[in-house]
Symmetry: C2
Subunit: 203 residues, 2 copies
Amino acid sequence: MFIGAQVSLYPMTSDFVPVILSGLQALEPYKKDLRIETDDISTLMVGSPDPLFDALRDFFARAAKEPAHVTMHCTVSRGCPGEPDDPNCRCDILAVGQSLPLEVRQAKAQEAVAQAASAGVEIDVQFSLYVLGQDRHMDEIYGCIAFLKSSGTFLKSKNFCTRLRGDAGAVFETLRQAFLRFGPAQGHVTLDLTASANSPSRR
Amino acid sequence: MFIGAQVSLYPMTSDFVPVILSGLQALEPYKKDLRIETDDISTLMVGSPDPLFDALRDFFARAAKEPAHVTMHCTVSRGCPGEPDDPNCRCDILAVGQSLPLEVRQAKAQEAVAQAASAGVEIDVQFSLYVLGQDRHMDEIYGCIAFLKSSGTFLKSKNFCTRLRGDAGAVFETLRQAFLRFGPAQGHVTLDLTASANSPSRR
């Protein structure tokens, strides 16, 4: 199993470099658990979903606490058949497998979101979950959407994607649960995820 | 068939609103062929791939000609089983179907990129193509990657995605061909796409 993300932070201010660098500082505690490599388009983070989603949350929450409008885009992937197996990406939730019935997985996902610690900043998220390499991929998607609607972070459905809103702690836990609890445990699942904070459209 | 995109433009300047509005003006000629709706996170564009990818190209090329660093993210989708059928999304390439052998589709895709008109601005792109609801999705992905490598816009492979670089005309034609020529004609195919211009990391 190979798990990771390509992550880009976009601060809508002429002084965008310090905001990006401050976000990157929030990644420091995760450097022992994640492989992190930055180029001119995005930052690659490879590792298990516990540090990975915590790092995405802290990276964005730090930038969102600045006054500028800021967005983050992440392409998150697990189980891509084109990537090598990486022992650093081990994940207990996936190891137990998706053998649990859908309603049990939905309940466990809800519980995890309810227990998420507050990050102290409200954010908006728009994302799509893709379950690949499976004929009946929409069953898992609809199961995931039912969880999202009960998560407490659901805002609305849009064409091609779902909108979440809430504290960054609950929102990123919702995303982690959506990513891990739905679709086959050993399958190829991806997220196309955009986070936004301080948008002038909402002021 | 339902085809469209959720599109967001991110200018890294404090004066970001005029850049977004100027990009939106480049969409004017496409308003007769595309349904376009904007909210606080993204702009929905629904319609057939000819005006859709032309609109994405012109939207981004206009913004890229300004001096500021600017990026665009698009979630592009065709054939999502959760969306209604829309006669406005009709597409001749998909109507002919994916019955053509892979190497013929690759050659037609190459030809289309070679004939693309110049947009007069160089851009970077990073994207992932997802073929959903099919057991053997990686065969089409590998076929698409072979086309990309011969497209003249290929820069490099990265974890989870592919990098393109070149004139916006050739790059968006490469993306349209990747989106249409690979994966089943009636299947669910998506693109997770980031375009970038004027990055200070490249100066």
